[in-house]
């Protein structure tokens, strides 16, 4: 099996060494440097997740990806995720088809909701319509990806009649995934529409998703489609030692979850829950290169997945800490996982 290893960011606002927050503008410039450095370090994919908040100032990831594309030649570039329900599928296709042109065919998209919902009120959508919005827009996006004139009608945007949507794809559809957080019906939808499956595993034991992977392949068969890859997206942080990685990540993780906990109903992480999540059966990849590599290899095997994207960073971590994370991930974790899986 050919494995792909990526890094994802939500544009987590950086801190400086004294803990003072960097500006949004500086954080965005840092993300460009991180993307360029990811290629040098040997990472296969760099993804940017759409967010619209003070702590994650990243609403226009495609613009940032274009800047990275101009300075790189090999690394694949994509969204992680695009909040398709509150966007226009035609515009999303146009932006990523443009990125695909700029980068010489290196664009991808992951469509989903993420845990990010701020875009709904911001763009005038009702969260209660989420299902219908996503279903319709994902269906249209699948049509757009085929290339050629599109005819489409639905309730969530203006109809298209034999519409030519530009820029045309140069060499067929670019890779497109649907991000799924644990709803089996979303797995079926990805298979039905012919998208690859990205499992977002951000809490609890990853092995429980093995059945989803199986469900996806069976559903593809049932729809008469060829097998498509399954990927895993999970948060983490790599540093020289387990102790250092945890010491850097834990206060930032606790801070950000505590901040969003009241409105989302999340539990505030405790020392105990953090130990569980960073342990062998948890969803966080926090530790030394060896610890993280072992965990990635174990879970890719258990889940039958061919792709792993580490969501690196957390608001308040410094750009230097993130660059070290990227370097260790690219130069040590990825080769070690390949070795473990060969």
């Amino acid at each position: 099996m050919t494995y792909i290893f990526g890094l994802d960011t939500f544009g987590d606002r950086n801190g400086d060494a004294d803990g003072k927050p960097a500006s949004h503008a500086q954080t965005i410039r840092n993300v460009v440097e991180e993307g360029v450095f990811a290629e040098q370090a040997g990472v296969d994919f760099f993804g940017i997740g759409e967010h619209h908040t003070e702590y994650f100032p990243m609403p226009a990831g495609d613009v940032v990806l274009a800047a990275i594309a101009a300075r790189t030649g090999r690394i694949r570039l994509g969204s992680a995720v695009t909040v398709l329900s509150s966007d226009d599928p035609v515009r999303v296709f146009q932006r990523y088809s443009t990125l695909n042109a700029i980068s010489g065919g290196r664009a991808e998209v992951i469509l989903g909701r993420g845990s990010s919902i701020e875009s709904f009120p911001l763009f005038g959508y009702d969260l209660a319509d989420y299902e219908e919005l996503f279903e319709e827009k994902a269906t249209l996006f699948a049509e757009l990806l085929k290339g050629g004139p599109v005819t489409w009608e639905g309730k969530t945007r203006a109809p298209l009649l034999n519409q030519d949507v530009v820029p045309h794809l140069e060499s067929g559809p670019f890779p497109a995934w649907i991000g799924v957080g644990g709803n089996p019906q979303s797995v079926i939808r990805a298979a039905r529409l012919g998208f690859s499956l990205m499992l977002a595993i951000i809490g609890g034991p990853p092995a429980r998703f093995a059945a989803y992977s199986q469900l996806f392949q069976r559903a593809l068969e049932k729809c008469g489609r060829p097998p498509l890859p399954v990927g895993v997206h999970s948060p983490g942080h790599v540093a020289a030692t387990d102790e250092q990685a945890k010491a850097e990540f834990w206060p930032r993780w606790r801070e950000i979850i505590a901040l969003i906990a009241p409105e989302r109903g999340f539990a505030i992480p405790t020392d105990e829950s953090f130990d569980t999540e960073t342990g062998p059966h948890g969803a966080l990849y926090v530790g030394s290169p060896e610890t993280v590599a072992q965990k990635i290899a174990t879970n890719l095997r258990a889940l039958g997945a061919a792709r792993f994207d580490l969501k690196y960073g957390m608001p308040g971590l410094t750009h230097d800490q993130l660059m070290t994370n990227i370097e260790l991930y690219g130069r040590q974790v990825i080769p070690r996982v390949r070795e473990l899986l060969s």
Binding site: F120, A128, G182, P184, R208, L215, K222, P262, G265
Partner: protein
């Protein structure tokens, strides 16, 4: 031995399959249903909820003693209350405006109290709503296990609460009974036990402390 009650789980999203699996493991006969054709969830049932029977919602409800509501709260209005007459209804739903949008009828109220008002012919019990779906199975333990955790069971009908307390116990948690749906507000998002998985003494302390703070 008396046979266990027949369960119908409505909802095959994040939560429904987890509750269905726990109930199957505990020995309950379980049907699962969505708003659509059971054929649509046949594959999900086979691979994710082995042992459950996919059915049309109306059939599943008609044959069940206990109906578990595990659908998004904004879809609750789509259910015909008459189909739930005489049933014991477990409300595992949550009102969570930041995540699912604002629903006017639920603003500032106990969500299960609003559910119960719409289901006058049913005994409504609030349970299995406050432990995250990704933790619910992982944390379940047999009775007597030293690391067993607690789960709240709230309702206005003591016999119904007793039955669901038994179900919660069989699925792997120490049931903590709350004497009314009103008291069950402590199980809601933002409440003292929502999203945290506590032992029975910790759970009871958290609920008591919250009751004091409300006074």
């Amino acid at each position: 031995m008396r046979e266990l009650s027949r369960l119908a789980v409505l909802g095959a999203g994040h939560v429904g399959p987890v509750i269905a699996r726990l109930a199957i493991k505990a020995g309950y006969p379980v049907a699962i249903a969505t708003s659509g054709d059971p054929e649509d969830i046949a594959l999900i049932t086979e691979l994710i909820i082995p042992g459950a029977q996919p059915r049309w919602a109306s059939d599943a409800m008609a044959d069940a003693d206990i109906v578990v509501l595990a659908i998004p709260l904004h879809r609750f209005g789509d259910i015909d209350p008459a189909l739930l007459d005489g049933k014991l209804v477990v409300d595992a739903m949550n009102y969570w405006p930041a995540s699912d949008g604002v629903l006017e009828p639920f603003e500032g109220r106990g969500s299960s109290e609003v559910v119960a008002r719409r289901l006058p012919g049913s005994a409504v019990v609030k349970a299995l709503n406050h432990i995250g779906y990704h933790e619910l199975e992982d944390r379940a333990r047999p009775a007597g296990a030293p690391d067993r955790r607690a789960a709240g069971v709230a309702g206005d009908d003591p016999a119904a609460v007793a039955m669901i307390a038994d179900l919660v116990d069989r699925t792997g948690y120490d049931p903590v009974r709350l004497e009314s749906l009103r008291a069950g507000r402590v199980l809601q998002p933002g409440g003292p036990v929502f999203g945290v998985v506590l032992t029975q003494p910790e759970f009871e302390r958290a609920v008591r402390q919250d009751a004091r703070s409300l006074r």
